[in-house]
């Protein structure tokens, strides 16, 4: 399955992935309209210090703790992609409690939110990878279990 992978050797810490993510998931067709004057809620997060930067988003684990732990059964797989049914989610954030990557966060309406590989928006394929200026974030197939 294709996943989003991050190679920190090439991450510039420019944070564009966060903005591209927030835009892709905004439902708007214009980035300015979508993001100007608002706090962004990206599903990918740039971490690091002044030397190292990298972005973290849902790993779509082979055996996701969040799916097992979700009290409402809102987290499920769609063709391998770990997705949250925000109608079912009650916002208890048990997924935030168990995700070892810190890749789930509360959304604006209280329901949990995470990367769904742009499966449910108009971007077509992950906007973070498509917009990464240095190909630090890639969306590709890698052998499972291979680093």
């Amino acid at each position: 399955m294709k996943r989003v992978y991050v190679n920190e050797e090439w991450c510039l810490g420019c944070h564009l992935c966060e903005y591209n993510c927030a835009f892709a998931n905004s439902g708007e067709s214009d980035m300015v309209k979508a993001l100007k004057g608002k706090p962004i809620r990206p599903r990918i997060r740039v971490e690091g210090d002044d030397r190292i930067t990298y972005a973290v988003s849902c790993r779509h684990c082979l055996d996701p703790l969040c799916i097992r732990s979700c009290i409402s059964g809102a987290i499920h797989r769609e063709d391998g992609v770990v997705c949250i049914d925000r109608e079912k989610c009650v916002g208890c954030l048990t997924c935030v409690l168990v995700c070892p990557y810190g890749a789930v966060q509360p959304g604006p309406d209280g329901a949990a939110m995470k990367c769904e590989l742009c499966l449910h928006n108009a971007a077509g394929e992950p906007a973070c990878a498509a917009g990464c200026p240095n190909r630090a974030i890639v969306y590709e197939e890698r052998e499972e279990g291979q680093a």
Binding site: E9, W10, L12, G13, C14, H15, L16, E18, Y19, N20, F23, M31, V32, L35, K36, R51, G131, P133, N134, R135, A136
Partner: protein
């Protein structure tokens, strides 16, 4: 010097605030620290005095909120004292120093390529469609025999001196590791390998990681002799003796100690942090005879298995110089025109020394033919080859191949801001700062170079096909394929071509 800023900044940063989403990518990406986020006012502010117009921020701004424009705050119009000239006086009056700049000569001197036009077949001779018919762009650089010879049994003698095989008549010219980044080198090395051409180490030595690209590497030996050792010479496909460079003929080079980090230091075989100074001349070469000694020393050192290139800047008596080199035992002469780029050069030298490559090439080719020694050497020309059309024109004027560097760094993202000497290249090319060099991912860089060469190769084949020529060898020195426009008699004579319409 205290007090007054004598001139208004050269560029203005125009930010369309209605588009700015405060993502701060401009701030994060500007090594010159032009942009700054003011949290109190929730806005980005710019100090245009620091801007070099490299347009990194413009390219990365996701909402196209930014542009950099030339300031319209000018001094009174003066055709003699233009703004740049006055600015330079101010600068020198403040600093007392030699002006430094980089990349190629930006002055509006004639570009002869643009005054040459290429022929095409019509009616009386057929053109060739490169999509349907084979088209050969491969070239071999090196000495060629003057005539066919046979042995006692009458078999053709085919033992040639070493040749450099290129899939197309284009190579990446010398840029040292030090002047450009590791990742820029990696991009060039990978692309040269993929395309079946060569890149050139410059005089910075060869990083240990790049030995595997050896068959597509030209290793340079220059006046500083940095990084030269046996394995280095053995690693390359050819060895280039650098006598001069088009951007700064007659002077040496200077890599500031700040750029000599651990890796550069190891590769150049000099102490970390020390200035790498290449002397103006090779101190062991004061004559063609001395040059001949070095050429043969290098051949001896590598078992006569590598062609030796001698690179010179195009200067006034280039034809005579080339004649000497062709007799020195060199296999290839590389001539670098006055528009050639550099990572740093004194501005006056860059802008006022040397001659155009087009004129140098045609006079050298003619001189070597006249003297019957054209086959002794191949000719490679550089110094602002900007497109496939320039390549075709150069070959028609007599070149065996071209060197490109500015076009290559443009492909890597260079925006020709001409401040390489600052070491703060925002595109990760002309810098050694780790946070900046990582901006050039060689995976992207090499792909862009491959794309560029692939496109040029296709265009070369189309231009050749139009002329009814299916082999680049048949174009070399074929000046009948060129006509001049707007050139005077002398220029036409030197170029060895007729005027358009003739």
């Amino acid at each position: 010097m205290p007090g007054i800023d004598y001139f208004y900044p050269e560029f203005e940063v125009v930010r369309r605030d209605e588009r700015c989403i405060r993502c701060r990518v401009c701030e994060r990406q500007c090594a010159n620290e032009v942009h700054r986020y003011d949290a109190e006012r929730d806005m980005l502010i710019s100090d245009e005095a620091k801007c070099v117009n490299c347009q990194r921020c413009v390219s990365l701004c996701p909402t196209r909120a930014l542009k950099i424009v030339r300031s319209d705050c000018r001094l009174r119009e003066n055709a003699n004292w233009d703004g740049d000239t006055i600015r330079e006086v101010y600068k020198q009056a403040a600093s007392g120093g030699v002006l430094l700049s980089s990349m190629g000569n930006p002055k509006p001197l004639p570009v002869y390529w643009d005054k040459l036009l290429i022929n095409a077949s019509q009616v009386t001779n057929p053109s060739i469609d490169p999509l349907r018919e084979p088209m050969e762009t491969k070239v071999f650089l090196g000495k060629k025999p003057d005539r066919m010879t046979r042995d006692a049994e009458g078999r053709l003698k085919t033992d040639l001196t070493p040749q450099l095989e290129l899939s197309m008549p284009v190579m990446f010219s010398a840029m040292s590791y030090g002047s450009i980044s590791y990742n820029a080198h990696a991009s060039l090395a990978r692309a040269a390998t993929e395309m079946g051409v060569c890149y050139n180490t410059g005089e910075g030595g060869l990083h240990e990681d790049f030995y595997r690209y050896g068959p597509h590497t030209i290793v340079q030996v220059a006046s500083g002799r940095f990084g030269v050792h046996e394995d280095y010479l053995e690693a390359g496909a050819a060895i280039e003796i650098k006598m001069g460079q088009g951007a700064k003929p007659g002077i040496g080079g200077h890599l500031p100690g700040a750029k000599v980090g651990p890796d550069v230091s190891r590769t150049r075989m000099i102490p970390e942090g020390s200035d790498a100074i290449s002397p103006a001349p090779h101190h062991d070469i004061y004559s063609i005879e001395d040059l001949r000694q070095l050429v043969w020393s290098l051949k001896e050192a590598t078992g006569h298995r590598k062609p030796v290139i001698v690179k010179v800047a195009a200067v006034h008596n280039i034809a005579a110089i080339a004649s000497g080199i062709a007799r020195s035992g060199a296999d290839i002469i590389a001539i670098d025109g006055f528009r050639g780029g550099t990572g740093a050069a004194p501005t006056r030298i860059r802008d006022h020394v040397g001659i155009p490559i087009e004129l140098a090439l045609s006079s050298v080719d003619q001189r070597l033919r006249d003297e019957g020694i054209r086959n002794n050497v191949s000719l490679v020309v550089g110094g602002s080859i900007r497109s496939s059309a320039d390549v075709v024109k150069a070959v028609a004027l007599g070149a065996d191949a071209c060197y490109i560097a500015t076009a290559a760094v443009l492909a890597l993202g260079c925006h020709l801001c001409r401040t390489c000497q600052s070491g703060k290249c925002n595109w990760g090319i002309a810098t050694q700062r780790p946070d900046l060099t990582k901006r050039l991912n060689p995976e992207i860089g090499s792909q862009r170079l491959v794309n560029l060469l692939t496109a040029w190769k296709r265009e070369i084949m189309e231009l050749m096909g139009g002329m009814g020529i299916n082999s680049i060898e048949a174009l070399r020195g074929n000046r009948l394929m060129l006509r001049g426009v707007g050139l005077n008699e002398t220029e036409l004579r030197i170029l060895g071509i007729s005027h358009a319409g003739e």
